[in-house]
């Protein structure tokens, strides 16, 4: 490839990154306002939830004051926002420690689980997707089609529970709960997260594989592919050299969407395997009405989503010369 082309690609990517950064800030602001408004509609507040069934009005008033919940809503939002801008997500109302401490314990767990799942799921999905596309209409294609469809068709909590029954209760190969702790070795950790990875993979592999197949097939009908085939280029070469650069945009886009699910959508898997991740933390924040914590989680999920989308778009630009011009 010529140096000029790759340079223009870099330039296009950098412009895109710059533009996206600005609009991302706007999106994050929007999300925070939305979350704040919806949370105001929730019945009860952090003070009432903390005191629970046995709350007396005096206690609720005292605790509200201590948590700063007796200030008007806009004041609370403003003080949260100013804190956030200076990099301080505030104090968790319920856990009585800085939100950053609570998050820093869980975020690595979530990222690690998502990364490992992606490591397993992306190659498998690509292989299935490309394989069935190349075999379009053939026996392999139909078998894979039914397999991915059935994978998508089973509720994830059922997949997870069946996996636990087989691999930990019956066979005792894997632990049924995925405890993540610092003193754990990698071997123990991987054994612990094997089933969460399996469950999450089942969900996203099916989605990604189907989209990959569709994108590849879409390109296969184009004249340039026929030309290449007529010229006698080997099928594998056709896919890798000719089809993939053009199909990559929809594929990475779909993959980014699926991968963003691995963070926030993992709540059921986290619950069943008792994995201390970010999604169950956010559910916690909702049920205990812990606003600063809820906001912080929402910001992280939103930022992760935007980042994945950006990576997808940049990848598409760099991979496909035709897109660089746009």
């Amino acid at each position: 490839m010529a140096g000029g082309a790759s340079q223009s690609g870099m330039k296009a990517a950098l412009t895109l990154i710059g533009k996206r950064f600005a609009s991302s800030l706007l999106t994050l602001l929007l999300v925070s306002v939305t979350i704040f408004i919806i949370a105001q509609l929730l019945p009860g507040d952090a003070a009432q939830e903390a005191l629970g069934q046995s709350a007396t009005p005096q206690q609720v008033a005292a605790l509200r004051h201590e948590m700063g919940l007796d200030r008007p809503a806009y004041v609370r939002y403003a003080s949260w926002l100013t804190g956030m801008v200076s990099g301080d997500p505030g104090q968790s109302l319920v856990a009585n420690m800085p939100v950053s401490d609570v998050i820093s314990e869980r975020l690595p767990n979530s990222l690690l689980l998502a990364a490992l799942t992606a490591l397993v799921a992306v190659p498998v999905a690509l292989a299935i997707g490309i394989g069935s596309a190349m075999n379009r209409g053939g026996r392999l294609d139909r078998a894979l089609n039914v397999a991915t469809l059935s994978m998508v068709a089973v509720p994830e909590f059922l997949v997870a529970t069946i996996a636990v029954l087989i691999f930990s209760v019956k066979l005792r190969w894997l632990p049924s709960i995925a405890m993540a702790s610092q003193e754990m070795g990698w071997g123990d950790y991987l054994r612990g997260v094997a089933m969460p990875i399996l469950t999450l993979s089942v969900i996203v592999i099916a989605q990604m594989a189907r989209m990959t197949r569709a994108a590849v097939i879409d390109q296969m009908d184009r004249p340039y592919v026929e030309m290449a085939v007529l010229k006698g280029v080997a099928p594998v070469q056709v896919v890798l050299r000719h089809i993939m650069p053009n199909a990559i945009a929809p594929i990475v886009n779909a993959m980014a969407l699926s991968l963003s699910y691995l963070l926030g959508g993992a709540v059921i898997v986290e619950t069943i395997f008792n994995y201390p991740g970010l999604a169950s933390l956010m559910v916690n924040a909702v049920t205990s009405r812990d606003m600063p914590l809820l906001q912080a989680c929402a910001m992280i999920f939103c930022a992760a989503y935007l980042l994945l989308m950006l990576i997808a778009d940049v990848t598409a630009i760099l991979a496909n010369p035709r897109l660089r011009a746009q």
Binding site: T34, I35, L42, L149, A153, P155, D218, G265, V286
Partner: protein, 275 residues
């Protein structure tokens, strides 16, 4: 018209015919199931819980000793109805907004796209949790949650299609003719993106069925004693260890319904890109 549909059905490949049969079967169950149910949905008719198959209870009894077949027949309409309605609502809204964005220029496109980014970046199950906690669980709310959750996905795809189409020569010609934006969107752009959107609709339908069952795991969902198929799986999950029919039956129901819809759509001719 009917002849046309019949000939279309005949033209379907085998898998498409199977899909069509499954879809028609579940539509029939959704419509007539409650009438066919041998027992009332909330009646405690079996002495034992997690009973196996018997003459009185074709699909055994559930975790409280209720008739699984009756609950399945009554519950299917929630899953089929909610998922179909929500998928249609999501697709219609997403596509309409996408068309607006495509013909409206950057001034409309930018804010709409940012708004969709915002919606999609909030994890859907947590979003549902918040809304149900705030407004209480009801059918219209579940419908709305499912629809809102899947609007952005449809919007992304429809917008990509529409933006491409808007650059096409015939659209430019129409523009030059001085046609209004509304006319261009409806008459020139929309008809050319129907097929890919239909494929998208099928996947959304599956996702919504799964979202609903995910919600039932979190304790949100249709109000008792009724239950959608996902809730039926969830409420009987403790019977999984003993292989109870009460959990296998609704799980198979979900699988056949979702696989059926997708086989049918896969079999439709002229499908395009999907996501």
């Amino acid at each position: 018209m009917i002849a046309h549909i019949l000939s279309q059905a005949k033209a379907l490949p085998l898998s498409g015919k199977l899909g069509l049969a499954l879809v028609l079967f579940w539509l029939a169950v959704a419509l007539f199931g409650p009438m066919l149910a041998p027992y009332p949905v909330g009646a405690f008719v079996a002495y034992d819980v997690f009973d196996g198959q018997s003459a009185a209870h074709w699909l055994g009894s559930d975790y409280l000793g209720r008739d699984v077949l009756s609950r399945l027949l009554s519950g299917a309409r929630y899953t089929v109805g909610l998922a179909a309605a929500a998928a249609m609502l999501a697709s219609a809204t997403g596509t309409a907004l996408a068309l607006t964005a495509a013909v409206g220029g950057a001034k409309v496109d930018e804010p709409l796209s940012r708004f969709m980014d915002m919606l999609i970046s909030i994890p859907s199950k947590i979003f549902s949790l918040v809304l149900v906690a705030a407004f209480g669980s009801s059918l219209p709310l579940l419908l709305l949650i499912a629809a809102i959750t899947y609007v952005p996905g449809n919007y992304r795809i429809a917008r990509a299609l529409a933006v491409n189409l808007a650059q096409m020569d015939y659209v430019q010609v129409a523009r030059a003719r001085g046609e209004g934006r509304f006319h261009i969107a409806i008459a020139e752009v929309l008809p050319n993106m129907i097929h890919p959107l239909l494929a998208d609709f099928g996947l959304r339908f599956v996702f919504i069925v799964l979202l609903l069952s995910g919600l039932s795991f979190l304790g949100l969902g249709v109000q008792p004693p009724d239950a959608d198929l996902g809730s039926l799986v969830r409420e009987n999950i403790s019977g999984l260890g003993e292989g109870a029919l009460a959990i296998i039956a609704p799980a198979v129901a979900i699988a056949t319904l979702t696989v059926g819809v997708n086989l049918l759509i896969d079999g439709l001719p002229g499908r395009g890109k999907r996501a």
